[in-house]
């Protein structure tokens, strides 16, 4: 009997083991809801949870990368929004200053917006537009509340080209508003120079130079440059003055065209202009 049994087991051992394993699996399936199996599963799942919690930071790396990308995009959008808000704030401040200026000086101001700026060494050109473009006149001065910007050189429809004071062709007669010292303002392509001011004249840093009565382009007493440094070089009879425009040419966005500042139009004679010179220019 035993040898026969051994032979049977040896011959059919594959099927015997298969039957045992299938039976065990079916038993496990049957007792799936028993408390012992549930306990074993709880322990196993708990162990798996611990392992998973260790691995989780590594698993989260791709998600963190995508989160980082989203945050970077959001940050860029917010920065852009912040810049726009800052720009709007500056624009409001600029418009408010211009409004106060126009209120203080009862003249025929044509408000205009700068739509383009062109900076080259030889000359700076602005293109402006206005709803009241019909009042644009060639050679009409363009000013802000801080001082002079330039003058209109060309008019075309709604638009006008402004030659700024940064122009190598301009020689503007200027006068120190404090001491009355006279000189010639020039743009040499790099910086502004005031020539012909004798060492004996009273000039110091912070002085404002205005257009003089001897100029042919602008009405007198319009602020134009501020002295940053005044030095008397040895061996020279004239001052070497470092000056900057009272109106910032880089930051300006809105201007006034003032045809009444033209020398040929005598409406300004006798009136005193009030400019805001608290801000620095370039």
């Amino acid at each position: 009997m035993i040898p026969w049994l051994l032979r049977f087991v040896d011959t059919y051992r594959n099927y015997i083991i298969l039957s045992i394993l299938i039976t065990t699996s079916l038993l496990l399936l049957t007792f799936n809801q028993s408390s012992q199996i549930i306990f074993v599963r709880q322990v196993s799942v708990g162990f798996y949870g611990v392992v998973k919690s260790i691995i989780q930071p590594i698993e989260e790396i791709p998600k963190l990368r995508s989160d980082l990308k989203i945050l970077q995009e959001t940050n860029a959008e917010l920065l852009n929004e912040l810049n726009q808000l800052r720009q709007s704030k500056n624009e409001i401040a600029e418009l408010k200053s211009l409004y106060n200026f126009s209120e203080k000086n009862k003249l025929n101001f044509i408000p205009a917006k700068i739509i383009s700026k062109s900076f080259t060494a030889a000359q700076n050109i602005f293109i402006i537009s206005s709803e009241d473009y019909k009042s644009f006149i060639i050679d009409a001065p363009v000013v802000t509340n801080n001082g002079i910007i330039g003058l209109i050189s060309l008019v075309s429809g709604d638009y006008a080209v402004v030659r700024t004071i940064r122009n190598v062709d301009f020689n503007i007669s200027v006068r120190n508003s404090r001491s009355g010292a006279l000189g010639i303002l020039k743009w040499d392509g790099i910086s502004f120079l005031i020539s012909n001011i004798s060492k004996t004249a009273d000039v110091k840093a912070g002085d404002i130079f205005v257009t003089s009565e001897f100029g042919t382009l602008f009405s007198p007493d319009i602020p134009i440059v501020r002295v940053i440094e005044a030095s008397a070089n040895k061996g020279f009879s004239f001052y070497s003055l470092r000056v900057e425009p009272t109106a910032s040419l880089e930051d300006v966005r809105y201007v006034f065209v003032v045809p009444s500042f033209l020398k040929s139009i005598p409406t300004l004679s006798g009136s005193k202009l009030v400019f805001d010179l608290s801000q620095s220019g370039d």
């Binding site: 496990l28 798996y48 392992v51």
Partner: protein
Amino acid sequence: MIKDYTKWIIIFCILIPIQLVISDYLIIYQLKPDLILIGLVFLTLSFGQIPGIMFAFFSGLLFDLLSGGVVGASSLSKVISIFLCGYFYNENRIEIILRNYTFSLVVLLTSTLDGFIYLLIILSEEIPSLIFLIFQYGVFPGLYTALLSSIILIRPKKKLISS
């Protein structure tokens, strides 16, 4: 022989956590490859039917316990499918089978069968579309697993097991 089995026990101890955790990243169109089954087919074609079904039972049981699934479902499906896979075992042609596309074909058949049996065990209620489920849980994951198993064919000459 004991040394080889110990090696395979270690391999399955690594494969099961990989299947649980890392295979989630290999999901394509909701199809998940069965890395444990690839290992089991390799083992069965190397050592034969009995070691294959023994490993299939215990690895399936451990997987069920760790994954929180129905205990006994994976072990039953794997035991039956690996038992049938064992008929492809030929001790004179082990290296040839493991080095050509017969291996991937066996993986495809075994994986499809495993998926189908597992589905029959899990779904107790009336099945709405059996054909769809056979393909969704049997044939397509089987194809994906077989495709992935072909990576084994490009392994270096050195034998993983010495039979």
